[in-house]
Symmetry: C2
Subunit: 393 residues, 2 copies
């Protein structure tokens, strides 16, 4: 097993009614004026924004606000946020939403706390030295950004989607009320569950000869829990317990816990999806589901025992004659699971039909961001990436 | 499921060779002069203390030192540490050891950062408002104090053992090198494994009608991992992987993770053991093993389904005719496990034979600290506590 660092300083306040603690949590951080950052109209319509404002007012904390964050959040709005924060003297960022909103707030935090153009950090030209503090009010269980060190932003100039990681941006607190996620449409709920599963799967398929037994046990328990809860949510979108399981799993799946001792994990599917999401603006989790099976079949021969273990421990697949057979059954079972919750297992089902030229463009963009190679299970180069995109069509 | 807070700000640096990062970690906290706090001669003999001092010197951090911490750490040494820190201008506490040493450091931290007598906090007369920052170098996997909010101290005046909990004392960092635990004697290793298991078992037996599925899955995976690894360590005390599994499980078992959504847990066995440890100075984990079976049989009828689930999921017990039969088989299997790693399942095996008067004294001390009643599975009063002590003889 590999050495590891684990750092999850976020104060989690979880459960019914916790939204109303937001103001006190912000005040405890010493903030004077926050930026309430959010997406479309749902936060307004649901009354969540009003409750946040009331809670801030009760705690005597001022605010500015900036809505309009979209899935695959845009650099232009980040830049607008940076200017707004400087103009208004904002000293704390309060995203109210899901991963896109939180990631956008983190990017604003980098922009405000460092000079120069914020895209430099996402273009790997500079490393951020600081970040304005962030506290999250979570309304979508998916990205895990409420506890994670990562932020993913899309630059409209070239539609490039890039993510960076730094402990500087880990939220100071996260308010997680599962009731706030009950009105999410089924597609978004399912897409979130895939994203949560993939954050652990990327770490679970890690190419290590001897992964940590405890980490595997936690990862497998988490994945089984999400799969079971996602099935419940197909039938009962307002099942509080299932919403809570998924929400907490979303945080634990991307705060580092399920990667301890694994050496970091694979992350190829995330890279493949990031470029897809940049070019076609698809839902992140759905994009991951669409490419995962093709990735798995492409790399499976490099570690059939691991895929066989996944098949048995997570999906309850009956073992076949050998690891490869069990592994292939597991990939098919996982695709069956994706379909059962309404998720795609191909680009076509995702609603995307890239041309050959676009596949080359996707693979090229992918390769550039990873210095030509990626993957822990099997090293993938540009040609491999294009082959996986093609197989996923 | 219950609402919960989760806060684990400790920066974990885990693996081979991490000890030499201690100086840089202290420096990053802005410390100018630390108190190196430790136990007996083993930290000196093993060379760990010298490596810590070299690491501090390389980082340009000064130090004072105070050894002599014993299991069930004493109030008198805590008071000595408080005076020493004030005299020497210490601004950071660096315990090098296991839970006793870290708990003692936390108590010193409370003493330095607040006025008055430090025992007031443990006697529930005052609540600490601050704590000098602590960073831990862990050499014994057991108590989980390296990430926990708790500190347990024994007052020699009356031999009263008391614990308090506050986020203020959670260590800023924890250096965890499993190699440092390889020279622990078998009894101490096994006792540590029991303590780790019990930190999750106390949370797992929680009296909730609908505990969190994810928390149960994580808890069960953790307990299975510790049981398997402890068996390996009986045969191979220097098995790095097993030492690492146990060490990381020790932190996760008491940082709050395995209690999320459970409402807090039971903690009766810990209370029963605390008074035993205060009066007879036994190893904490061994004391827990000695009382657990008697506690379990005493309360089992209040929640047979939960004990049956534990039997099947954690111990792999074949189910009996009903939950009670499965549950009883599970208790027997757990006692068999304790014996298999050299742990006692009764007070006599623990080496303690309390008189009737001493049992009344233990129950009385226990009852006083919990305002007359304790337990989430079943409410226990003084008479129940005495009955469990008696059954454990």
């Amino acid at each position: 097993m590999m050495n590891f660092n684990y750092y999850t300083p976020t104060r989690v306040v979880f459960g019914r009614g916790t939204l109303d603690q937001t103001g006190e949590l912000v005040k405890a951080q010493g903030a004077k004026k926050v930026l309430i950052h959010y997406g479309g109209g749902s936060a307004k319509r649901s009354g969540v924004l009003d409750r946040v404002k009331e809670s801030l007012a009760a705690a005597g904390v001022g605010y500015a606000e900036l809505g309009g964050v979209v899935p695959n959040p845009r650099l232009s709005l980040v830049r607008e946020g940076v200017e707004l924060c400087r103009r208004e003297g904002v000293d704390f960022l309060l995203p109210v939403g899901g991963g896109s909103v939180i990631d956008s707030a983190k990017a604003i935090g980098y922009g405000v706390a460092n000079g120069g153009d914020v895209w430099d950090f996402y273009d790997f030209k500079r490393t951020p030295a600081a970040c304005l503090p962030v506290g999250a009010v979570l309304t979508i269980a998916a990205a895990g950004s409420e506890m994670s060190d990562s932020s993913v932003i899309t630059n409209e100039d070239g539609w490039v989607k890039r993510g960076i990681s730094s402990d500087l941006c880990r939220p100071r607190f996260a308010v997680m009320d599962p009731e706030l996620t009950m009105t999410l449409p089924p597609y978004q709920t399912a897409s979130g569950c895939v994203d949560i599963l993939m954050h652990t799967m990327e770490r679970y398929f890690n190419g290590q000869a001897e992964p940590m037994v405890l980490t595997d046990a936690l990862a497998e328990g988490l994945m089984r829990t999400v799969i079971d809860a996602s099935h419940v949510l197909v039938r009962e979108p307002d099942n509080y317990a299932a919403r809570a399981e998924v929400m907490w799993a979303g945080s634990l799946s991307h705060n580092g816990l399920t990667g301890c001792g694994t050496g970091g994990g694979d992350w190829s599917c995330h890279k493949l999806e990031h470029e897809l999401g940049g070019l076609f603006d698809v839902a992140h989790g759905a994009g991951l589901a669409a490419v995962w099976g093709s990735w798995a079949r492409y790399v499976l021969d490099a570690d059939p025992a691991r895929f066989a273990r996944f098949a048995e421990k997570v999906l309850g697949v009956e073992p076949g004659a050998d690891d490869t057979e069990t592994a292939l059954r597991g990939v098919a079972a996982m695709e069956g699971y994706y379909r059962s919750i309404g998720m795609p297992t191909s680009l076509r089902e995702l609603g995307v039909e890239p041309t050959e030229a676009q596949i080359e463009e996707l693979a090229e963009k992918c390769a550039v961001t990873v210095h030509g190679r990626m993957g822990a299970v099997k090293t993938l180069r540009k040609g491999d990436m294009a082959a996986i995109y093609r197989a996923a069509r």
